[in-house]
């Protein structure tokens, strides 16, 4: 049994890369946390952020309906799901980039034409360090949370991460 230093996945002995996170198991240089907050990032799981339930829509839902939903629920993104499988995410940024001043004309089109397909996801047991890295390097503002069957169970936002870090990195 080789336990992945990053995600703690239990791999079969002799595996070269972690089956779950694709990190090398042979030549890794594990990060060495030197501070309390660094240790927290490698210890705490997404679970502690208590991700809010996602608002989900079907791929055939119209653009008009999705925009309304985002305004009514005061949310920055919806998850696009079919048969409880996550297909994509549609955010304020997608609206600005892909609909822009043509939103009215595109109102009857299905949201699947404009979503960001196959978004990067994390699961509840992923270490918070991963979420921090994705948000900062990847520039994501929202990350869908999925279970083992790839069912979308939640969303975390850059604000959740900021709150977590502010609580731990600042003088009380």
């Amino acid at each position: 049994m080789t336990i992945c230093p990053y995600c703690d996945h239990r791999n079969i002995p002799g595996a070269d890369v972690c089956e779950r996170c694709a990190h090398s198991l042979t030549s890794f240089h594990p990060p060495t946390p030197t501070t309390d907050v660094e240790r927290s990032l490698l210890r705490d799981r997404i679970r502690v952020l208590d991700p809010r339930s996602p608002i989900v829509v079907e791929p055939c839902t119209t653009v008009r309906h999705v925009l309304r939903t985002m305004v009514d629920y005061k949310i920055g993104c919806v998850l696009v799901v079919r048969d409880s499988q996550l297909l994509g995410i549609f955010s304020e940024k997608d609206a600005l980039r892909k609909l822009n001043d043509a939103a009215r004309e595109l109102g009857d089109r299905p949201i699947s034409d404009f979503m960001t397909a196959q978004p990067e996801t994390l699961d509840l047991d992923a270490k918070i360090a991963f979420a921090v890295q994705r948000m900062d390097l990847g520039g994501y503002r929202h990350i869908p949370i999925v279970d083992e069957s790839q069912h979308a169970t939640g969303v975390i936002s850059v604000r959740d991460i900021l709150r977590y870090l502010t609580e731990r990195m600042t003088v009380a």
Partner: protein, 154 residues
Amino acid sequence: MELRLDLDDELVQHVYSAESLRVDAGCSVRDVLRLMKERDRGCALVCRDGKLDGIFTERDALRLMATAQDLDQSIEAVMAASPVSVRLGDTVAQAIRKMSEGGYRRLPVVNDDGEPLGVLKASGILHFFVEHLRNVVYTLPPQPHQVMQEREGA
């Protein structure tokens, strides 16, 4: 070892982004939407006579799109007027407080004369934190769970 940032000592001037989109109050909503897309900006600082008059964000854009409003009206009719703003010498702690109290993800940065200097973004504050966490955050594998995907809108 403890790592504690004293956010009461850290200043907005080290965290904000000077690259911002500035538009005139008389600009049409349509022009502003197009500029935000072209320049890849999440907000526009609306100015009159060189001073900050309002802010128009992605969120405002979404609301306009959802209600199919007239895009040929001027941006000043739909912007948030006299927005909550910060100054270069304000502390990061004060800025975070303003953001969380108002639910803002972006705050305009202005000088003493009310001229816009840039934008302080939640993602900028996150990056500022991460700079202090390089040790663990940047040494993680680049792709944890599955194949790379488009990052566009997420």
